[in-house]
Point group: C2
Chain length 225, copies 2
C-alpha cells in the first residue's frame, strides 16, 4: 500500500512536470517529479533541537549537515571509504521519512515497524525516478540501512554523532523528554566506535560533560509514586 | 573586520570543541568548530517560500535540495562535469550567508555590497578549518562565485532553476512582493541556458505558465499615483 504524494491537489505541480516533459521528455519529467517530492522532507521534524534550541531540526537540513560532517570527518574513518558515495548516501538516506516520518532511535516499539514502513516509502518515492536511476538510489538507501559496507558504517556513524552534538548543545531536552539515560545512549551510539574510533572517543567525552551537569541523566529515573 | 561567531556566549560550544581536541587533536577540534558554526545556516531565511508556501526556505535545506538537483539533473549539463565536485560546491556555496545574509538576486543595490561582505565571511568561516582544508573549501567557494568552470556554471544553473520552481509553485508571491516581472526573471536566469539548454527551456515554460495566470507579472507595474 503506497502513500499519496504530499503534493496531491497542489494547483501547479502537474503543470511544472509537463513543462519538464516538453523540454526533456519523460526522463526529465520523472526526475523533476522526484525533486519536487523531496521538498516535503523540509517539513519532517526530527526530535533533536537546533544548537540554539529555537526549534526542532528538519530532515532536509539534517541531511545537508551530515553530508558536511562526512566530507570533513572522513580522515577519521577506520576503513578506506569512497567519500562522494558516502555523501550521496547521506543526501538520500532520510527521504523515506517523507511517507514514514522520523522515528526516535531510542523508541524500540516504533523502530520495529520502521523497516516495513520505510520499505513501502522507498518503493513509492524512488519509484518516481526513471528505472535505472531509481534502482541506483534505492540500492544506495538499502546499503545505508544494511550497514554492511565501510561507506554505510561511516555514514551511520555521522548520523549518530550529529544528534549527540545537537542534543548536548541544546541542553539535553530531547534526552530528558524521552527518559533516555547514559547507558542507553552509549548502547545506541556504539556503532560510531566501529566506523571511527576517535569520533567515538569524542562523542563519549561530550556525553560525559552532559552527564556531569545533568543535561543527560546517568541512570533511569525511578518509577513515579 | 570579521563578524563574531553566532555561537558566542553559548554555554557548551567550547566544551564540545575541547572534547574533540582531546580525542583527535587540534585538527579535529577545528573541523568540529566549523561543523558547529554551519548550524547557523539553518537559521538563514531565503526569499523563496517552500512549495506549499508555509514558510520561507532556509539556506541549509536549500543547499541540500540543490545537491540533489545537481545529482539528478547532471545528464542535462552542456559540458562534461565532475558531479561530486558540483555537489561539494553546492553544499558549501551558501555558508558565507551565516555572516553576510541572503541577498535577493533581483536587488541590484544589495548585490553590489554582497561580494565584499561575502569575502569577509569566507575569511572568517573557512578560516576556522585547518589550513589546507580551509583553503580547499574556500577555493571551491570562489570557483562557484567566478563561474569560470563547467562545474561552477552548472552549480549556478541549478541554484537559479530551483527558486524559479519554488516561486512558481508557491504562487509567485516572492516575485510579486519584490516587483519583479518576466523580463527581469529571464535576464537574471539566462545563465541556466549556457550550462544546460534543456533546463533553460524547462524554466522558460514554467515561467510562461506563471505569467499566463498572473503569478508572475509580464511587465513592470506602472508607478503608483
Amino acid at each position: 500500500m503506497s502513500s499519496a504524494s504530499p503534493h496531491d491537489g497542489h494547483p501547479h505541480v502537474e503543470e511544472v512536470v509537463d513543462a519538464a516533459r516538453g523540454a526533456g521528455g519523460d526522463d526529465l519529467a520523472a526526475r523533476v517529479r522526484f525533486l519536487l517530492e523531496l521538498e516535503a522532507l523540509k517539513r519532517v521534524h526530527r526530535r533533536s533541537l537546533l544548537v540554539d534550541a529555537s526549534r526542532p531540526e528538519n530532515s532536509a537540513e539534517h541531511s545537508w549537515h551530515l553530508a558536511l560532517l562526512a566530507l570533513l570527518l572522513a580522515p577519521h574513518a577506520a576503513d578506506a571509504i569512497d567519500v562522494p558515495r558516502v555523501v550521496e548516501m547521506l543526501l538520500v538516506h532520510d527521504v523515506v521519512e517523507i511517507d514514514a516520518g522520523d522515528v526516535l532511535v531510542y523508541d524500540t516499539v516504533a523502530m520495529a515497524d520502521k523497516a516495513r514502513a520505510e520499505a513501502e516509502a522507498a518503493d513509492r518515492i524512488f519509484g518516481l525516478l526513471p528505472g535505472a536511476e531509481g534502482a541506483r538510489l534505492r540500492a544506495l538507501w538499502e546499503e545505508y540501512e544494511d550497514r554492511a559496507t565501510p561507506e554505510a558504517r561511516f555514514a551511520y556513524a555521522v548520523d549518530r554523532l550529529q544528534p549527540v552534538l545537537l542534543n548536548a548543545l541544546s541542553g539535553g531536552r530531547t534526552w530528558q523528554d524521552h527518559g533516555v539515560h547514559l547507558d542507553r545512549v552509549l548502547e545506541v551510539n556504539a556503532p560510531i566506535g566501529d566506523a571511527a574510533p576517535e569520533l567515538w572517543a569524542f562523542a563519549r567525552a561530550v556525553l560525559d560533560g552532559a552527564v556531569a551537569d545533568g543535561r543527560l541523566p546517568s541512570a533511569p529515573s525511578p518509577l513515579p509514586g
